[in-house]
């Protein structure tokens, strides 16, 4: 367990050091640290903040994926497939249209609202079948998209540009002060979630299973959904909707590490971060100087992966 966490940390550190050096213009680490222009500016103001944003975003989305999968007992659940990312998008678009500064709060509210509606589908307290879950997610995505299209239609030219740029799920360099509070929230919430790792293990088996072994299931699930909304909402407000990170990373990790959340959660945090940094670096460099929005890239990789996952467990989908 500790070996896999160490290894994941090493991968993340390597990725974070290498990623800012790659890009459309060549720079050197030594010159950047020596304060030589333009290497210094490119490294510290253009690329590093973006890498840190990708790291925190990927970590948050991937931890949220693990949480949703655990609580819904379904490996297909993640913020994007459940429509929670879309809910966050609606919140952010409303904020952009009304000129609010607090896009983060609006996104969080949107994410929480959608999550409540998805959970409302399980009124009798039983688990949702994958089928119901995915259809609910699809419906949520369509509804959210309809609202966004409508708002887009009403928006002014500059707002419209801001909305469509943001909706593509792109990472841009943000200020260090923004990154600092994002880091505090993402690391804080993720640590809290990880502290309950042994209890998540029991919840992943079943509600009664956990409750009859002394776990306060209602408190734990409530905490999990709040944590998931906060992580998805805040990250989405800064990056736009980025799909499938919370699906690909946890799934790959379970194949390698098994299901124990004490290893799964820390590794999902570290390698989810590394994964999005790599995706973002690719999106900057593959057809440089043009950028592919990272959300487009993850959807292009994640979509086929999701279909494969769906096909491989189609039988149990109907249970």
């Amino acid at each position: 367990m500790s070996r896999s966490v160490l290894l994941s940390t090493a991968v993340l550190v390597a990725v974070v050091i290498i990623a800012p050096l790659l890009g459309s213009s060549h720079i050197e680490l030594g010159r950047a640290f020596a304060g030589v222009s333009p290497d210094h500016e490119i490294f510290f103001y253009a690329r590093l903040p973006r890498v840190i944003l990708a790291l925190l975003g990927g970590a948050a989305l991937s931890v949220t994926g693990v949480l949703f999968q655990c609580m819904l007992r379904d490996p297909l659940a993640e913020p994007y497939t459940l429509g929670v990312s879309s809910g966050a998008s609606v919140g952010a678009v409303i904020a952009i249209c009304l000129g609010w500064r607090a896009t983060g709060v609006a996104s969080l509210a949107g994410a929480a609202l959608v999550l409540l509606m998805v959970l409302g589908m399980a009124v009798d307290g039983r688990r949702l079948s994958s089928f119901t879950l995915l259809l609910t997610g699809v419906t949520m995505n369509s509804m959210a998209f309809a609202v966004i299209l409508f708002l887009h239609n009403l928006a002014s030219f500059s707002q419209s540009f801001a909305i469509s740029r943001w909706l593509m799920g792109g990472l841009e360099a943000v200020e260090y002060s923004t990154l600092a509070w994002l880091a505090v929230v993402v690391i804080g919430v993720s640590t809290l979630v990880m502290a309950y790792a042994p209890h998540w293990n029991l919840l992943a088996v079943g509600d009664d299973w956990a409750a009859s072994r002394g776990v306060s299931t209602v408190r734990l699930t409530t905490m999990g959904y709040i944590a998931g909304s906060v992580l998805t909402g805040l990250v989405t407000s800064l990056t736009g909707p980025i799909g499938f990170v919370g699906l690909i990373v946890p799934h790959a990790l379970r194949l390698k590490l098994g299901a124990d959340h004490r290893a799964l959660l820390p590794c999902a945090f570290l390698l989810g971060g590394a994964f999005l940094v790599v995706c973002d670096t690719l999106s900057r460099t593959v057809i440089a100087p043009t950028e592919i929005p990272v959300g487009v890239l993850t959807a292009l990789c994640g979509g086929p992966f999701f279909l494969w996952l769906l096909k491989s467990r189609r039988r149990s989908l109907w249970l």
Binding site: V205, A211, G214, G258, A259, D260
Partner: protein
């Protein structure tokens, strides 16, 4: 006494049930579908909380027990566990130690309790396997091992033998009989012959009410079976014990 219930009621499940359970022995709960067997077991396990009337464990109302304290004394085995994620057998067994856990990591005592439980249930040889690859009989034994690591005074089992073949049904009930010498074992079952053969006491439920409660020979008589289950039962006796055959 371990459990004492007085005028116990649960919406759409149980009406006016009063009983006392001793501290050891094997008690089976039988009855037609929807008679309230699982509801009763759920209440005893502390999982169906807003009941009315009284249901006490060790002199204290079940809903007032702290979940953690309760789980150290009463273990519940669900009817089946549909595992979605690749937990190993040993990980599933160790989950039973949760009510004793004080932190993130397992202690040596946790591991020895798990070892002991896996020995009792004969599951030690596949401790590293993915739970989802087990047969029904193996899975049932692993779930039992997980409950035993709670070191409980009471084992509550919801239809433990339903998915098992004959041989595994008998060996499971033989094991439950062994375990019931030093603790109370309460099992819901559809198989009246298993109840007749292995239990010290049978409780029959009908539409949420207790229709019969006592020794198997007294309770499981043709008149009661005809009334509750709607089948004609014939009781056969021989050198090897009693058994029943039925016809509609």
């Amino acid at each position: 006494m371990s459990f004492v219930a007085r005028q116990l009621d649960y919406p759409y499940g149980l009406h006016d049930a009063s009983f006392e359970f001793p501290q050891n022995g094997l008690i089976t709960i039988a009855g037609p579908n929807g008679a309230g067997k699982s509801t009763l077991l759920g209440i005893l396990a502390g999982l169906r909380s807003p009941y009315s009337g009284s249901c006490m464990f060790d002199g204290e109302e079940i809903r007032h027990w702290s979940k953690r304290e309760f789980a150290r004394r009463v273990a519940f085995l669900p009817q089946n566990v549909r595992m979605e994620f690749p937990f190993t057998v040993e990980e599933v067994v160790l989950m039973g130690r949760t009510p004793y856990a004080s932190g993130w990591f397992q202690t040596a005592e946790d591991r020895s309790a798990a070892e002991e439980a896996m020995t009792t249930t004969d599951t030690l040889s596949f401790r590293g396997r993915d739970f989802r690859t087990l047969s029904g009989g193996e899975a049932q034994r692993v779930i039992l091992a997980s409950a035993l690591t709670q070191r409980p005074e009471v084992l509550l089992l919801d239809e433990p033998a339903t998915h098992l073949d004959l041989r595994h049904q008998l060996s499971l009930y033989r094991l439950l009989g062994e375990l019931s010498k030093s603790r109370l074992v309460v099992a819901v079952t559809h198989d009246l012959n298993l109840a007749l053969q292995f239990s010290d006491r049978v409780m029959v439920l009908e539409d949420g009410r207790i229709a019969g409660d006592g020794t198997p020979a007294n309770v499981l008589n043709p008149a009661l079976i005809a009334r509750v289950f709607g089948v004609q039962a014939t009781v056969h006796g021989g050198l090897n014990g009693t058994w029943m055959t039925y016809e509609v």
